[in-house]
Amino acid sequence: MKLRLTAILASVLMGIAIGISIYTFIYAKGASYLLNDPAACANCHIMKEQYDGWTKSSHHAVATCNDCHTPPSFVGKYLSKASNGFWHSFAFTTGKFHEPIQIKARNQEITEKACLKCHQELVETIEGSHGQLSCLRCHPSVGHMH
């Protein structure tokens, strides 16, 4: 009984949070989030650091946030953005996230693959047939200098 109550309570709260998040998503120009404009990401002050870094990075002229933070496929791109977009909004609104922000395994994977979108040819030689070669181990700073 008690359990059920808390469950209901939880889902209600969840509902509210989600509500707010969707509000956030819209208010924080969630729409532009789905575009390629890096400024969209910077709508969140919390993303400002990366944005500022990116403008100084070796890649600012050649790659936007989404080039490195979304999977190659068209659908995959929007799926991951929807999920990132929502969760970022959720996290941002509830303020529940680890600081400094750290890329999560799933997104790190996406980013690792993203490098190959553009550098496949260059690294064919070193990639080898065996074992994944992590680019970020040596190039963590290419995106935004840290």
Binding site: T24, Y27, A28, H45, F92, T93, H98, E99, P100, Q102, P140, H146
Partner: protein, 428 residues
């Protein structure tokens, strides 16, 4: 709530009251800067880490020492320290350091006060002395500083109210950092002169990033009281390395005390955090004290400096993870590996020094002359200062890992050589 977030982003702080250069009461500054003030007050917390932080030890208040809580005694933790400092006030009472909130009372009630009549100089690093300096020197900091140095601690103590306060690190109008301690200003001038830079003035010439360490360097340094004026002096004229400082003291032929058991004229090093940090890779990489001990934290849309100054191991994500993308547990382990290595060698160095002291004592009671003992005593002086330089440095080696173990290695060599020198004396 995001609306608020956007708000905050616009105006970082609200000016409630007009701050002047005369207000040393932090609670008034706190009206304009409540966030920093709240954190500043948190320095009363006591939490232990493997080698740092501090433990809250209950203490039954007495007439002479009304404190109800103190930090753990290092002398009880390691009685060898009593032998090493025999005859010096530190062998009476020496405790783990704790938060800034306690600096004034801990200094006032340490038993070290009961064994020696301490000068007003002590207060330079344990109280908010800026306004007092100005008052005593009628506007001239340095003259005020000289006045306080020459008072007795008891006299001086009556004239101060607060531990280090906002005004000691900040200019009220701009909140810019500033150095308010003449001893640091003079120490840096001597250091820079040695490097070929004339008339160095930290408040004019230091970069902002440097100031984020210099404000700490006003107190977290090795020091001595020069002459009968008891002028607080930082021995940096030859450099900041342990060898440079030792050379400075030798030239001035200065001694802190004469060792009770061995009769050697020895030195005591105190909290050379600034000097040690300078030898480390972080200083070289431009990482300031404040980066690790007062990391930025987010309050809504604002980034503020965490004024709860403490062990970074109690705040690893903010103190370290902005630069090191390793998990907290991993970063903690990295520190402890460095500290364990330092601690292990420190213990070997301590045994070596205690052995030397005992051997000299024996030779002395056996009637060896001062002349016969001089070589061994000189080795003790060398070994003692080096050991102390690491022992008294509060990061247990972290601020400069390899330098700390290198210094201990030399300390060991000197202690053991001292023993050999005795053995080599012609039998009689």
């Amino acid at each position: 709530n995001i609306l608020e977030h956007k708000q905050e982003a616009k105006n970082p702080f609200y000016k409630v009251t007009e701050l002047t250069d005369e207000i040393d009461d932090p609670s008034i500054w706190g009206k304009n800067f409540p966030l920093q003030y709240d954190d500043y007050l948190k320095t009363v917390d006591q939490v232990r880490t493997r080698f740092g932080g501090s433990e809250a030890i209950p203490h039954t208040p007495t007439q002479v020492d009304p404190r109800s809580v103190v930090a753990e005694s290092k002398l009880e933790e390691d009685p060898r320290l009593k032998t090493i400092w025999a005859g010096y006030a530190f062998s009476k009472d020496f405790r783990e350091d704790r938060g800034h909130a306690y600096m004034l009372e801990d200094q006032t009630y340490t038993e070290r006060q009961t064994v020696v009549k301490q000068p007003g100089t002590c207060l330079n690093c344990h109280a908010s002395t800026y306004t007092l300096y100005k008052k005593l020197g009628s506007g001239d900091l340095t003259r005020g500083f000289e006045q306080l140095n020459q008072m007795s601690f008891v006299e001086g103590r009556k004239l101060v109210k607060h531990p280090v306060s906002c005004i000691d690190c900040h200019t009220p109008e701009t909140m810019q950092l500033r150095v308010t301690r003449p001893a640091f200003i003079e120490g840096m001038r001597a250091l820079k002169f040695n490097q070929g830079i004339k008339d160095y003035d930290v408040n004019k010439m230091a970069t902002r990033q440097e100031m984020r360490s210099f404000v700490c360097g006003q107190c977290h340094v090795e020091y001595y009281f020069q002459g009968k004026e008891k002028r607080l002096t930082y021995p940096w004229a030859k450099g900041l390395k342990v060898e440079d400082i030792m050379a400075y003291y030798d030239e001035a032929n200065f001694k802190d005390w004469t060792h009770a058991e061995s009769g050697a004229e020895v030195l005591k090093a105190q909290h050379p955090e600034f000097e040690m940090w300078n030898q480390g890779i972080h200083a070289r990489s431009g990482v300031a004290c404040a980066d690790c001990h007062m990391p930025y934290k987010r309050e809504g849309a604002m980034k503020i400096s965490d004024h709860h100054v403490r062990s970074p191991l109690l705040n690893i994500n903010r103190s370290c993870q902005t630069c090191h993308k390793w998990p907290e547990t991993e970063l903690k382990e990295r520190v402890e590996i460095i500290q364990e290595r330092t601690y292990k060698l420190r213990n070997i160095a301590m045994d070596a020094l205690v052995d030397l002291i005992n051997d000299i004592k024996v030779a002395r009671t056996a009637g060896r002359t001062d002349e016969e003992l001089s070589t061994a005593r000189n080795f003790q002086r060398k070994a003692q200062f080096r050991l102390d330089f690491v022992e008294a440095e509060n990061s247990t080696g972290f601020h400069a890992p390899q330098e700390a173990t290198r210094i201990l290695g030399e300390s060991i060599d000197f202690s053991r050589q001292g023993q050999n020198a005795l053995h080599k004396l012609p039998a009689k």
